[in-house]
């Protein structure tokens, strides 16, 4: 159910000057024809104004009622079809009003019918009183039914939003073998409730925002009071305040608008589809941004090592979790470096490979018309094409494409002697390794960097790779996510935080929250619980 989206906004209004000035400017330019004009007391006039200004849109429904009370009160119900739940509309709005009113309700109310309705006639959870057109339109397009009474210049908004929604499903991009199988949906309220169900604490606070002049997208800042740093929260609010854009379609828009470093292939804000990931990060003192209309929630601040972790690491035993994390890191390095190292060895440093292997490779490369770097570049490019094609195609066609791409092109290119088998192997390993990255956005960074490194390797060999890696290291050291250096806890070095990086220490050893986040409440386990020892005889 949609709650009251504006409750948090009034709180943040005080530091909202810049935005409200800009919003006013927007209104003057005719984006919002009604602005703060009060409602009229006449139903006729209101309906006429609405129909004129909304272009008599076909999905906006107007329902006239006349009640059987002493005053013969006239009502007008306005709602957007498809955004309200039809059953609820009938059950909770129209039925109570049209059914026979009890004797005291049927008495003359002398113009106070609105209050009566609010207090005793509408059996819905949320009912708001509206005074002006701005609120009116906001509620209307959020899926409220709006009831106006003849002779009263106020209206009531009843929360009966509904319409078709996707149910809670297993997260598509972050599968887990062990762990909860629920993922976020497109509805903000469902998403916040999913996190609430994991953190049943009064300290989980939420702040409501509305971003996007036209989309009016509800955005929710979620944090654990007392664990999240106040300064960082203020920073988040300030950055959200700076957003003045017409549309927020997805959390990716927000990510791009509020991240520290605009020019970087690396993501400095993590996103996730899993409520348990969000909950886990909230407990560590991070802040989450949930956006209506997308199943992807943002988590700030994020450091590089978070992108190598999955929620499942904490559900599996620590030894296998550590192994898997290292595996992911190694795969990331392979995904970035493998083709360029191959090219560097094949074209500049043949002496590096053992002789027997070199002979094998040389025999394979016999008759291949392209130099090694061109070969690698072509195959990498073909692979990227294949990958993109498979992602965008329906799954049936996807299978065909992968067979054609993988088997037909790969095999026949080798058989025809156009590319050497070695380069096909290299590209395949790279491809598989690049799919290991648990967060897609880091995989994208790897894809781009691979080509940069390939270029460097084909011009000056290992020296080029070394230089690009140094550049990369400098760049990564320079990145920050909401003020936190991106490479923490490696640089700046935080010994205590190493327990949850490339290794995952046993839970009974992780007694403190990460040092990198400035929360005051560091202890997560009060007593030292070590594995029970066998009683000695």
């Amino acid at each position: 159910m949609f709650g009251d989206y504006l409750k948090g906004k009034s709180k943040s209004d005080s530091n909202n000057d810049k935005r409200s000035v800009r919003a006013e400017k927007h209104e003057q330019e005719g984006m919002n024809p009604f602005s703060n004009k009060p409602l009229s007391a006449s139903l006729e006039q209101n309906m006429e104004l609405l129909k004129r200004e909304l272009g008599d849109a076909s999905d906006i429904m107007y329902r006239n009622l006349e009640l059987e009370n002493a005053d013969r009160t006239k009502l007008l119900i306005v709602y957007v079809q498809g955004m309200v739940d039809d059953d609820m509309m009938n059950e909770f709005v129209i039925k109570p009003l049209l059914s026979k009113l009890s004797s005291d309700q049927a008495e003359s109310t002398s113009g106070k019918f609105l209050e009566l309705m609010k207090s005793s006639l509408l059996p819905t959870g949320t009912v708001n009183e509206l005074a002006d057109w701005k609120q009116f339109l906001q509620k209307l397009f959020m899926g409220y039914a709006i009831i106006m009474v003849e002779g009263t210049d106020k209206a009531l908004a009843a929360a009966i939003s509904g319409g078709e929604k996707r149910g809670i499903e297993e997260p598509k991009t972050e599968m887990a073998i062990r762990g909860p199988r629920e993922g976020f949906t497109e509805s903000l309220r469902v998403n916040t409730s999913l996190v609430r169900r994991k953190l049943r604490s009064p300290k989980v606070w939420m702040e409501q925002w509305t971003l996007g002049e036209i989309t009016q997208t509800p955005v929710c800042i979620m944090y654990v009071k007392g664990l999240a740093d106040e300064k960082m929260l203020e920073d988040v609010r300030e950055r959200l305040n700076g957003i003045c854009i017409d549309s927020i379609m997805e959390s990716g828009n927000i990510e791009e608008l509020i991240s520290d470093q605009k020019w970087s292939p690396f993501p400095t804000i993590m996103y996730t589809e899993r409520p348990d990931t969000v909950a886990g990060n909230l407990i560590e003192g991070r802040i989450s941004l949930l956006v209506d209309g997308t199943p992807f929630a943002l988590i700030v601040p994020s450091t590089l090592n978070m992108f190598f972790q999955t929620a499942e690491d904490y559900y599996q035993r620590f030894d296998i979790a550590t192994f898997l994390r290292m595996l992911r890191f190694v795969s990331f390095v392979i995904a970035i470096l493998m083709p360029s190292v191959y090219v560097a060895i094949a074209s500049y440093h043949q002496e590096m490979i053992p002789t027997r292997l070199l002979l094998k490779l040389a025999a394979q490369r016999e008759g291949v018309p392209f130099p090694a770097y061109l070969e690698a570049f072509i195959m990498e490019f073909v692979f990227e094409i294949l990958r993109e094609a498979v992602v965008r195609m329906p799954s049936a066609a996807g299978n065909t494409i992968s067979i054609v791409g993988g088997l037909v092109i790969g095999q026949s290119a080798v058989e025809a002697g156009i590319v050497s088998p070695a380069v096909v192997i290299v590209v395949s390993i790279t491809a598989i390794a690049s799919f290991v990255a648990p967060v897609y956005s880091l995989g994208i960074a790897a894809r781009l960097l691979r080509f940069l490194l390939l270029f460097a390797a084909s011009t000056i060999g290992f020296y080029g790779i070394g230089m690009v890696m140094l550049l990369l290291l400098l760049h990564l050291s320079n990145l920050r996510s909401f003020g936190i250096p991106y490479l923490t806890p490696f640089a700046p070095f935080k010994l205590k935080d190493l327990k949850d990086t490339l290794v995952r220490a046993p839970l009974w050893l992780m007694r403190e929250r990460p040092q990198l986040l400035p929360s005051k409440n560091k202890i997560r386990q009060q007593t030292e619980i070590e594995p029970r020892k066998e009683p000695t005889q």
Partner: protein
């Protein structure tokens, strides 16, 4: 650190400062220095390296004593407070020249090494230009970024050095060390001469970094720098021991990049061969840090000399100077030997020990202390890194509920 402490200088931790110090030392001593020392001290070179530790420590004490008196100023800045404006400007100029020549020498080392080992046909100026490009980028990003990069490179190089040493352990031949002290204690002492100038005198760069160390970390700084000195000594002793032990005195005093040649000896079951590329990689990493620090200190001291508000405009122009200078600084091999083994030491000792010691004596006699802030050009971020140690929060920890939604 409070958020409103005037100019918010970028800050590095004491650990980062110590790691920069170690990397600066490794940048030269890891590859070039052992050759020169072994040439003089023969099989007792490792004793020389051991003797260099206390000297290193004493020099560090001079710098730290100066830093105690002027905690927020760099060497170039407190010079002016001690000996007057114009005398100070003249001395500053010598430091600018020192760091300029030093940068050129370091760049020359890189191109010599790469030209000899990895890229024999690529023109020198091209190698230099690419390297300089990365260095300029690094220096422009500022000291915090450089320090964090240094931390990663430090772990990486420590890891690789230990891997290499372990792989070579079974090849150590103890006969190479005999006879011990064949020529008395004098020979290892004579071997100290190049070390005095080559890394130790150059350590004066650290006086330009001290004012950037986080103020709450100042107490720890002394301890971590002492530890760093011990580690530098340990590294150089270990490397020299392995050089002599594995390659013998003759071979290692002939090879210009001895540690690189040392790694060529690694051969594990005919599979893990040619790991010297790893040595090349860590050496490029450490010498990169050395060059970045040199160019940084060069730009900063020039900016402080000229009274500029920011050092960053000077970085690219200095790149233009350092590049041709590195190409002409040695005319030929003989010239290089005379310069680096003899003359450089005297110059470096003058800049690195004599001048700071004189300044310290003047400061002690004049009883000068100064806590004022100098412009260290690092105010890009608003004390973000220190966000973690803010203890002055005001919110209570009580379970408070937000105003209920108007339902």
């Amino acid at each position: 650190m409070s958020k409103n402490a005037g100019i918010n200088n970028a800050e590095i931790t004491s650990g980062q400062c110590a790691k920069l110090y170690i990397l600066f030392a490794l940048g030269s001593s890891a590859l070039i220095l052992p050759t020169v020392v072994i040439e003089i001290a023969k099989q007792d070179a490792w004793l020389t390296m051991l003797l260099a530790g206390p000297i290193n420590y004493l020099v560090l004490m001079i710098y730290l004593a100066l830093a105690d008196r002027f905690p927020n100023l760099s060497l170039v800045q407190y010079m002016e407070k001690l000996i007057g404006k114009w005398a100070a400007k003249a001395l500053m100029l010598t430091y600018v020249l020192f760091f300029l020549v030093n940068s050129a020498l370091v760049l020359r080392n890189i191109s010599d090494f790469l030209g000899l080992s990895v890229l024999p046909i690529t023109p020198t100026w091209f190698i230099d230009a690419i390297f300089m490009l990365v260095v300029i980028y690094g220096v422009c990003l500022g000291i915090e970024t450089m320090a964090r990069t240094g931390e990663i490179l430090y772990f990486w190089s420590t890891f690789v050095i230990f891997i290499i040493l372990i792989a070579l352990l079974y090849q150590l031949d103890y006969k190479n060390f005999e006879p011990l002290l064949y020529n008395g204690i004098l020979r290892p002492i004579k071997g100290l001469y190049p070390i005095l100038g080559f890394p130790i005198g150059e350590f004066v760069f650290i006086t330009m970094i001290f004012p950037l160390v986080r103020k709450t970390d100042r107490k720890k700084l002394r301890k971590s720098l002492k530890l760093a000195t011990v580690m530098i000594t340990a590294y150089s002793v270990l490397l020299t021991l392995f050089l002599i032990g594995v390659m013998g005195v003759d071979e290692s005093s002939r090879s210009p990049f001895a540690v690189y040649d040392l790694a060529k000896n690694i051969n594990i079951e005919e599979i893990l061969v040619r790991v010297e590329i790893l040595v090349a990689m860590i050496w490029i990493g450490t010498i990169f840090m050395k060059l970045v620090l040199c160019v940084y200190v060069l730009s900063v001291s020039t900016a402080q000399l000229l009274g500029l508000s920011n050092y960053r405009p000077l970085v690219v122009p200095f790149g233009f100077v350092v590049l041709p200078l590195s190409l002409i600084i040695y005319r030929n091999i003989a010239h290089a030997r005379v310069f680096s083994a003899g003359v450089w030491t005297v110059y470096s000792v003058f800049q690195g020990y004599v001048l700071p010691l004189l300044l310290l004596i003047i400061a002690v006699i004049m009883k000068k202390r100064d806590n004022s802030e100098g412009n260290s050009f690092e105010n890009r971020y608003q004390a973000n890194e220190s966000i973690g140690d803010n203890k002055s929060g005001d919110e209570t920890d009580s379970i408070a509920t937000k105003e209920p939604a108007p339902t």
